[in-house]
Symmetry: C3
Subunit: 137 residues, 3 copies
């Protein structure tokens, strides 16, 4: 049994979905693991992880539009000292994911053809988001 | 350390929740693993995985009704070339899960009495959905 | 490869978020694992797990208020025999999580500074909730 871990930093500039699939795939290759499990963990509570369609960028726009309506920044929140986008960011994180698990087979993530791994930044200001990529084999 | 992996295909015919618990349990038995971790990963972005009540089928109906209202197919989406149920399917997937992790103890999944594992198909047309079941021990 | 498993019982008295981070951290310490993966699995369908901000308790209040509006107990559900808070509890569970995965590094969970692990009880009456904490190394 090997556990291979790597800290990954993702710079974000504004609310958007950032495709990190190539960076995760690179770490899988580096690890040399042929069969195993890859866990991606995000160390934050105002950004999240999702696995979604990597083909048509309109899908990501529709996702963002939906979430903006479902959890509006214009609503009244008790926790409002960190800006109007902070509490909505926490709620959007809870409704999505903080970690994702993808099996590895034959040295590659078993993602479907249309699946990409995204950091979903829910805050407007620039951030450096830290992720821990953990590979067990 | 052993990693046991199996590809599972689930045929779906219409928007519904498909109970795959017996099929996952069978793979756990096959693996011979007594203590370990079972990861179920779905290779799609318009269907999802959930763990929910396996007793009263009305729970699944209420879940489906709630989701149909929360993410309506009648809304206007930018990504609409693949049918009116496609973009809602992507959003419903993001609001639920692409993988589930269940520990194994004494050769069995540690599911609670009322927990079942479901593929939630969000598209109306027939599909064959691929899952990777990964067992580490 | 070691798999360390422990059953954890969490008593809940009413709808609220219960911080279980210290109890999970204690089990990680007990396990003696320095590098590995910690899975927390909740054996119920009317309570859920989330990772969220551990600093300002107002964040948890806003989360609870948001969920109360998104999945109202006053709505009409088919499954209503177990009380008006039961079906909403199932839906709130599906929209959040049944398990969480956190890598372990240097003997500690790699949680971010502001991240806490919570059991989110969605039922009003008292419960004893069972979790399985699984550590692989």
């Amino acid at each position: 049994m090997t556990h291979y871990q790597k800290l990954l930093k993702v710079s974000t500039n504004g609310k958007s979905l950032y495709n990190i699939t190539p960076r995760i795939a690179e770490i899988v290759t580096e690890s040399g693991v042929k069969i195993g499990l890859c866990t991606v963990f995000l160390r934050h509570t105002s950004a999240s992880l999702i696995i979604q369609e990597n083909a048509d960028p309109d899908v990501l726009l529709d996702l963002a539009n939906f979430m903006a309506k479902l959890v509006p920044e214009s609503a009244k929140y008790i926790h409002d000292a960190e800006g109007s986008d902070d509490m909505p960011a926490h709620i959007r994180t809870v409704l999505t994911h903080t970690s994702e698990q993808i099996p590895i087979n034959n040295g590659h993530l078993v993602l479907g053809t249309w699946q990409g791994i995204y950091v979903w930044e829910h805050r407007q200001q620039n951030h450096v988001r830290e992720l821990v990529v953990h590979i067990s084999s």
